[in-house]
Homo-oligomer: 106 residues x 2
C-alpha cells in the first residue's frame, strides 16, 4: 500500500510560508504591529502587506489602524476563525509530517 | 518577548504543497510512477510535471524513463540528498508547529 499524504486537504491560505509565519507569530501574541511582524518575518513591506491582506480577506486576521504620537500604527490580531484555522492546519501538518517521519524510519 | 517562528529558514523547494506531497509519498516507497503520484496527489499532469521537474533540478529526486509493454513509463525516486532535505524540513516544521501549538495553549 502506498502512503497517501493528505496534501489536498491542506489549508492553502495558511500553508504559504510568509502567511504561516504571520499566523504563528500572532498566535503567540495578543496583537503585533506591522513593524513587529516585518522584523519577525524578515520580509519586505510589499510582501507582508500582500500576505496580511490575503489573511484578512479569509477572515483569519483583523487589522486596525490608528495614530500614535501622530504616526500611523497598524495592528494585527488573529480572529477566532483564524485561530481555529491554524489549529486545523497544525493537526493536518502533524499528520503529514508523522507519516513522512515514519516513512523515513526516524 | 515575541516568538519568532523560523520561517525564513524553511526549505522553499519542499514547502510548496504539491512538492511536499511528492517527497512525502516517495519517502514511503522505493519508487513511484507518474500515474501513481498523480493518483496520490489528485493533481493535473501539467502541475505534477512542473513540480517534479523543480524537485529534480534541486537534486531531490531522480527520474527514469523506460518502456514497459511498449508504453512509456516514468519512475520517480528520492535521492539521498532529497531524503536529507526532507529530514531537515521535518525538523524545521516540527519546531514551527510546536511553537504555534504552545502559543495556542494546545
Amino acid at each position: 500500500m502506498v502512503a497517501k499524504p493528505a496534501i489536498d486537504d491542506l489549508d492553502r491560505v495558511i500553508h504559504e510560508r510568509i502567511r504561516l509565519g504571520i499566523v504563528s507569530a500572532l498566535a503567540a501574541s495578543d496583537s503585533l504591529t506591522f513593524a513587529e511582524l516585518k522584523d519577525i518575518l524578515k520580509t519586505s513591506d510589499g510582501n507582508l502587506s500582500v500576505h496580511a491582506r490575503k489573511l484578512e480577506e479569509a477572515g483569519y486576521l483583523k487589522v486596525s489602524k490608528a495614530f500614535e504620537d501622530r504616526k500611523p500604527k497598524t495592528d494585527y490580531r488573529l480572529t477566532p476563525q483564524g485561530r481555529k484555522a491554524l489549529e486545523s492546519y497544525l493537526a493536518q501538518m502533524e499528520d503529514i509530517l508523522g507519516t513522512a517521519r515514519r516513512a523515513l524510519g526516524k
